[in-house]
């Protein structure tokens, strides 16, 4: 009797637990599906009101960076003085730290539907491509014309298309360099010392004679740095469907939209062979396939050259930060791909009560240099001093108190000042080069496409595992491609490579057809 009672009790508790869990799940789903309609409804009503008079609101804004600066409150007070008469809003900006600090906090906020207005999002932090389709962010497409017409014009169709998902724009990309190219970063001091003429380097193999000289004359220096992840493989500039870990790409120069196994391409084979020869010649360190901290040796001046992602003035930026005199050599042509478009953006949360005002703020932030520089560099005279019209020097108070140092992360970088230490005469000179770079970039034929790996999820995971097994040896030149590469390819094929490639091709074709 006693036992039966207990059993019944236990069953009841379990039932309760199950209904609780299920109930929660349903609730979640319901709130997710209803929120869009409510937010758009309130959107239009406030929009009508806003032309008359704006209620005061507070906008909560979360971004990624070096953590909350000490003088944030002082800067925000200035920002708010400025915003009040314009859009009757006050701003509460929180800068979280790279990595878990931002990811976990924002993940919890988004998942729990906590109220906030604007957040940083991108393809590498608070993943835009995953969160936007899940309904975390407000669809801005219908609001752009009314609340952010200048931003829309500023970014242009190419960028907006590239940042949209199924034709809907869920976040405003930062206006910055919108293309990438690959090339070398070369230690200029070592080059000059050994009489190496950098101007002769036009393609990847051209650097070999220089490596030979460094190997002979500079013991203790890595002539060519290629380590796992930060590897020379990227010079081939394949436009990857998933990420660097998964085979499947189209040629990065935009020649066609045929998906191939990039590891099996003739270019990859040539590159692996070259690297293997360099490895045997001692141009690449013997333990390169186990190294992940590539920064330390660069900073210590023990690296002569490496493949890097470039943009105008990249060498200057690197020189300032590492204290080593770098010079860049561009090898590939600038390309504009989805990756750049979604590299840094601000999204408006579904949980925001004031999506219109948030967008009005972003419009102001993107178009008003004063506001943009205030948030990027702090208060003039306190945190920085102007040395020229658009060039600034950060003061000690600025270094200690307010120095986010991430103008590429939000707003319109073309409105920001530049540091005195940069190699440009004025900000205009720098940004003109950026604009020219953006314009010279070829748009990828599948700009705006993102691969949905859901249908082939397990196979993608298997392929990733195989890549991590073979690629470190190949990309650092340690493995001989003549024997290892065929094995690598066979393993990939056995793990379902062809199905994955077919799925990629199918999605690319569908995208191209609907364009």
């Amino acid at each position: 009797m006693q036992k039966a009672k207990r059993l019944i009790g236990l069953i009841l508790v379990l039932c309760l637990a199950v209904t609780f869990v299920v109930g929660c799940g349903n609730d979640d789903g319901a709130s997710n599906s209803t929120s869009p309609s409510t937010s758009t409804a309130s959107g239009s009503s406030v929009a009508a009101d806003s032309s008359v008079v704006l209620d005061p609101v507070e906008l909560k804004w979360y971004v990624i960076g070096n953590g909350q600066p000490k003088d944030m409150d002082a800067v925000l007070a200035k920002v708010n003085d400025y915003l009040k008469p314009k859009i009757n809003a006050t701003l509460k900006l929180s800068i979280f730290t790279w990595g878990d600090d931002f990811e976990q906090k924002m993940g919890a906020k988004v998942a729990s539907g906590e109220e906030f207005d604007i957040t940083f999002t991108s393809n590498w932090a608070l993943n835009y491509l995953q969160n936007a389709p899940k309904g975390a962010f407000v669809d801005l497409t219908p609001m752009l014309d009314q609340y952010a017409p200048q931003t829309k014009a500023l970014l242009g169709d190419k960028v907006i298309k590239g940042a949209s998902i199924d034709g809907k724009l869920f976040a405003i990309p930062t206006n910055k360099e919108m293309a990438h190219n690959w090339g070398f970063l070369i230690n200029k001091d070592l080059a000059d010392k050994n009489g190496i003429d950098i101007s002769t380097i036009k393609k990847f193999e051209d650097i070999e004679p220089a490596l030979k000289i460094i190997k002979e004359k500079e013991p203790g220096v890595e002539p060519f740095q290629t380590v796992v992840g930060e590897s020379a493989y990227r010079i081939l500039d394949f436009e990857k469907m998933v990420d660097d870990n998964v085979p499947g790409a189209i040629y990065g120069d935009g020649r066609d939209t045929k998906v191939i196994n990039d590891f099996d391409s003739p270019e990859a084979k040539t590159l692996f062979t070259t690297l293997h020869n360099w490895f045997k010649a001692g141009y690449i360190r013997k333990d390169a396939d186990t190294i992940t901290d590539w920064q330390a040796n660069r900073k210590a001046g023990k690296v002569f050259s490496a493949v890097a992602s470039l943009k105008p003035g990249k060498d200057g930026e690197e020189s300032v930060s590492s204290g080593i005199n770098w010079v860049q050599v561009d090898i590939t042509k600038p390309m504009a791909t989805t990756r750049e478009m979604t590299g840094a953006m601000q999204a408006i949360s579904k949980s925001s009560k004031n999506p219109e005002r948030s967008l009005m703020f972003l419009e102001l932030f993107n178009t008003d240099p004063e506001l943009c520089n205030l948030i990027n560099y702090g208060i003039e005279g306190t945190h920085y001093t102007k040395v020229a019209d658009t060039k600034i020097e950060v003061t000690q108070a600025g270094k200690d108190g307010y120095n986010p140092g991430t103008p590429w992360m939000f707003g319109n970088q073309f409105n920001t000042y530049i540091y005195d230490s940069e190699k440009f005469d004025s900000a205009t000179a720098k940004w003109d080069q950026f604009k020219a770079y953006n314009e010279s970039a070829t748009a990828s034929p599948i700009l705006g496409f993102t691969f949905n790996s859901e249908p082939v999820k397990t196979k993608v995971a298997a392929l990733t595992g195989i890549k991590k097994q073979f690629m470190p040896g190949l990309e650092t030149g340690k493995s001989d491609p003549a024997t290892v590469l065929p094995k690598f390819i066979d393993k990939l094929k056995a793990a379902g490579l062809d199905d994955v490639l077919a799925e990629m091709q199918k999605q690319v074709d569908t995208f191209s057809a609907n364009k």
Binding site: G99, K105, N123, W124, A125, T292, R339
Partner: protein, 304 residues
């Protein structure tokens, strides 16, 4: 030969095993201590030397730069240090009191609903609501996010410690003592405070040590619940710095300014100095608890 006749003969181990155990535990202790010494050594080394010639136990170039940086970066770390100490003390006292009271009540055989309450505690050990509901309880319902309470409330009661304490009370506090206190006219509170607590000191000290360590080492609660940088504790600042460095070193998608950002983070030696400082007070806690600790643990283990 003489000492063979010693009355302890039965309890001694043979010289061979004795020697072997000494070697094993010496090696084990070294494995624990050597990394610590390395951290201390690196924290006193000049930054440039670390970059060029790697880690050394004895600094090649001695430097106090790292500690100067910690002091200079000033109020943030000093405040975090103070906060960590305060949270640990307040949190431990509160949580041990609550755990002890709860465990005592469900250990009393004359308490009618003790099985119900035991079950409620036990239930949380097996099932939990998951991260998002957990987060919502603290932010939307209790509204303790971004306050110091967020460090304390979520770890106030630990079901496992309640179970340990309950068993401890049951086995170490005979019913007859409680009964005699009652006959002498003591009320429930007086019995608990003057009779039961002194008897349960080893158990309480064990729980207190665990909780002290728990509060001191906690970085998860601030990760989820604290936004205001002024309320970060020391462990979280350390955790945040380390994950940020790892993240930036591997975030190959982030094309811009990684090197520039890394340059702004604390240097290798500064991180080591922070580690050394973080060890500080908690090392002092050990001797304080030690005299109860061993007894408490064994009692819990054998009879629990």
């Amino acid at each position: 030969m003489k000492h063979n006749e010693n009355s302890n003969t039965l309890n001694t181990v043979s010289p061979f095993w004795n020697g072997l155990f000494h070697v094993i535990f010496t090696l084990y202790s070294l494995a624990c201590i050597i990394p610590l010494l390395l951290v201390i050594g690196v924290s006193f080394t000049d930054e440039k030397t670390v970059v060029t010639s790697g880690y050394n136990f004895i600094p090649k170039v001695f430097s106090l730069e790292a500690y100067k940086w910690v002091v200079k970066s000033g109020d943030a770390i000093v405040r975090a240090y103070g906060l960590s100490i305060m949270i640990t003390i307040v949190g431990t006292i509160l949580s041990v009191s609550i755990i002890a009271m709860f465990a005592y009540v469900i250990s009393r055989k004359d308490f009618k609903y003790r099985n119900t309450f035991s079950f409620i505690v036990f239930f949380t050990m097996i099932f939990n609501g998951g991260l998002v509901p957990w987060y919502m309880v603290y932010t939307n319902f209790l509204h303790i996010n971004d306050t110091l309470l967020a460090y304390i409330i979520p770890s106030l009661v630990n079901a496992w410690y309640v179970m340990i304490m309950r068993t401890f009370f049951q086995t170490n506090v005979p019913d007859s003592i409680i009964e005699s206190a009652k006959i002498d006219g003591a009320g429930e509170f007086r019995t608990f405070i003057q009779i039961v607590i002194p008897l349960a000191k080893p158990g309480l000290a064990t729980i207190a040590l665990f909780q002290t360590l728990g509060f001191w080492n906690d970085w998860y609660l601030p990760l989820m619940l604290i936004e205001n940088a002024k309320l970060y504790n020391l462990q979280y600042i350390l955790y945040k710095t380390l994950t940020a460095i790892q993240y930036l070193a591997t975030a190959s998608n982030m094309t811009q300014g990684t090197a520039e950002i890394l340059a702004k983070l604390p240097s290798e030696t500064a991180r080591m100095a922070m580690c050394v400082l973080a060890i500080g007070p908690i090392i002092l806690a050990y001797p304080f608890f030690q005299k109860y600790f061993v007894k408490g643990l064994t009692v819990g283990a054998v009879k629990g």
